[in-house]
């Protein structure tokens, strides 16, 4: 059983990323359960999706139980740490989206180094992926989520072969598929190099 906790900000394409993981799992002959955030919560707020690969009944991942955190935004990486343990692989985009609470209540957005040190205190490993640049260089600037899905696949933690992810990508992102496959590949390699 592998539990993936996907987090980010409404509008970053997190549901699509979780669907790619879900379809890849089924193509690879595994069971999978995904849970999604819809409705009011999506409007620029913190968004959480879960992907539980294997034979489980409930879609929720309890605190301290995630095998991997896939985060699309740095502050949300920090927020997701309650789900980690020393065995957790944390993969995070370098993207920063400043929440209104920072702009208006003068709260502080921690610098990336502080976030890294907090992650390493509680989690097993930490990989940073410059998803915005990689998606731009693949020619699909809106596909940071595809880059991050590639990064998750690159860690090997899901036990799902790359070819299944690529087929799932074609099912879920049929438009500009060549560019998106390139974006996936850049994410995959970014984590492999670590």
């Amino acid at each position: 059983m592998v539990d993936i906790y996907l987090v980010g900000v409404g509008g970053q394409g997190i549901i699509t990323a979780s669907r790619i993981v879900g379809d890849a799992a089924i193509l690879a002959g595994k069971n999978v359960l995904l849970s999604e955030t819809h409705g009011m919560a999506q409007r620029g707020g913190s968004v959480v999706c879960t992907a539980r690969i294997g034979d489980v009944s409930s879609p929720i991942i309890p605190d301290g139980q995630a095998d991997a955190i896939l985060s699309f935004e740095l502050l949300e990486t920090l927020r997701a740490l309650c789900k980690t343990s020393k065995k957790t692989v944390v993969v995070s985009s370098t993207e920063r989206i400043v929440p209104l609470s920072v702009s208006t209540q003068k709260l502080r957005y921690p610098v990336p180094e502080e976030i890294e040190s907090e992650v390493l205190k509680v989690a097993g490993s930490y990989a940073l992926v410059d998803a915005p640049s990689l998606s731009r260089s693949a020619g699909v600037p809106m596909s940071s989520n595809v880059v991050m899905t590639g990064a998750l696949a690159g860690t090997g933690i899901t036990g799902i072969g790359r070819e299944f992810y690529e087929r799932a990508l074609e099912m879920n992102v049929p438009k500009r598929i060549q560019e998106n496959l390139a974006a996936f590949s850049l994410g995959f390699d970014a984590v492999l190099r670590k």
Binding site: V9, G10, G11, S18, R19, G22, D23, I26, N31, V32, L33, L34, S35, E36, T37, H38, G39, M40, A41, Q42, R43, G44, G45, S46, V56, S57, S58, P59, I60, P62, D63, G64, L75, E76, L78, R79, L81, C82, T84, S85, I97, V98, P99, L100, S101, V102, S103, T104, Q105, L107, R108, Y109, E118, K121, V122, P141
Partner: protein, 614 residues
Amino acid sequence: MDRILEAAPGSKVLLLGNEAIARAALEAGVAVATTYPGTPASEIGDTLARVAKDAGIYFEYSANEMVATEVAIGAAASGVRALVSMKHVGVNVAADALLTFAYTGTRGGFVLVTADDPSCHSSQNEQDNRYYALLAGIPLLEPSSPQECLEMTRQAFDISEKLELPVLLRTTTRISHVRGPVVVGEVKPGLKKKEFVKDPTRFVTVPAVARSRHLVLLQKLVEAEGLANISPLNKVVKIGIGGKLGIVASSAAFNYSVDAATYLKLDIDILKLGFSHPLPSRLIVEFLKDHDAVAVVEELEPVLETAIRAVAQREGLETRVLGKADGILSRAHELDQAIVSAALVNAFGLRLPELTPAPQIPPVPVRPPVLCAGCPHSATYYAVSKATNKKAVFASDIGCYTLGLGKPYEAADLLVCMGSSVGTAGGLAKVNDQPVIAFIGDSTFFHAGIPGLINAVHNGHKFLLMILDNRTTAMTGHQPHPGSEKGPTCCDITSVSIEEVVTGCGVKWLKVVDPYDVKTTIDSVKEGMAQPGISVIISRRECALIAKRDEKGAILGKRFIDQDACKKCRTCVDRFQCPAISSLDKVQSIDDVLCAGCGVCEQVCPYKAIKEAK
């Protein structure tokens, strides 16, 4: 390829619980499907809207849940199959139709899907709609997974036709919005037309008919309990080797119970109730007799627990029944496997395995949902706060615009339900000396705002009603409403003019403004508030998310902050709210990717430091 319609019988596809319900309706040969969108039910209707034409069914987004239910009743009473779906609070609107339809009963299968929202992820309350099955006296099915959403929806139609009763299919957020593998069946054409056979002593519920039909309903409930007792939807699942401890669970609570019992390494039996009303008493008695102690695990209200305790008392059984009355679980908020594990440990006096404590992390700045970049509501609220200096009482309503409640606008003081802004504004205005402004969205206005407006005109209420017309039902995923130009795939629709409705209700002062024109909007609000009676402003501008989606090329009119001209006055972040504008390390800037090019911030800036990017 649309996986909902094209998936081959027997193939395994990844489906959302809601999509599985839609697919099942097609497999059941549904003829008519209706809805009013609402999270977490929306994707049932959206899926059917998308495939309606190819599937040869009639689908509509109805004006509200009551009308949706009535349209489906008309079809089902004639003899075809009908599905109506809505969020839990929608059933309150539909209840008037549903409760008496239980008396007349149906000819074609009739399934009402209620998607409940424990923990209020996207709702104003977390009412437990299983009570509606008890209140109406109709069968209740509760799926636990996407696969069961498919199977139970199909069976719901069969049960409905067998008993000639409407059937309630109840999901929750963690059922409707869970995606998992589903082995699909075959899409069947089904009967699409049927001439209504007149039978007024059944279908016209004058008092004499209603009295006799109530007796028929009670008899059918006895028959329904017989079906529940032998239904494969109710079954015992063994964890480990089973034993003398038991759990009764339904819906998502069943999933948490399985995971909790597995985690605790218990040998325990779980009676899973999928067909839970009428309560299958015979099964309950057998299960209680076979076990020393039984915990009832359910979300929200103790519906099963109360009924099971009554059965135990009636039968004189000594099995310990444990549940919310014993304080092992709360009546508030959704459960998870950790909560259920703790409840089982508590109920059965077990030892909780050693837990690794959740890691301690420093406080993280909150990120609640906000109005989007370019949102016309944000522009309207800015204008209203300038025009009133916030010295007004704001009656709000259900939609994205409720997000105006926080700083900087604080434009929501009272909100209870769909359409309530118009009604509550009348009451507020009668007893307050402060001016009253009501906000309502276009879709919500059509849903439940119109009777309130007629009432306000007729009874001489004095307030300003602002109809925030973004041309769509935005919050739930941009579904059309009666004012829209484009509807579902199957059918042509006619756009209903909000202006004509408003003037038709008898309103004498009406103005239409573009909220992106800040000055005109401010002046219009001032003018509207000065009117002696009811005044209406339609603040019209398409939802920024649709406008963006329709854009072929780059978004035009993106703005930036000229840092040389910026006086750091913070007006753009403290008085106006836009997620594209942020203030980090005392520097205000506009995110070039997020900016929607509305240009409102340029009008907000007192120093002309915000400029259009060339």
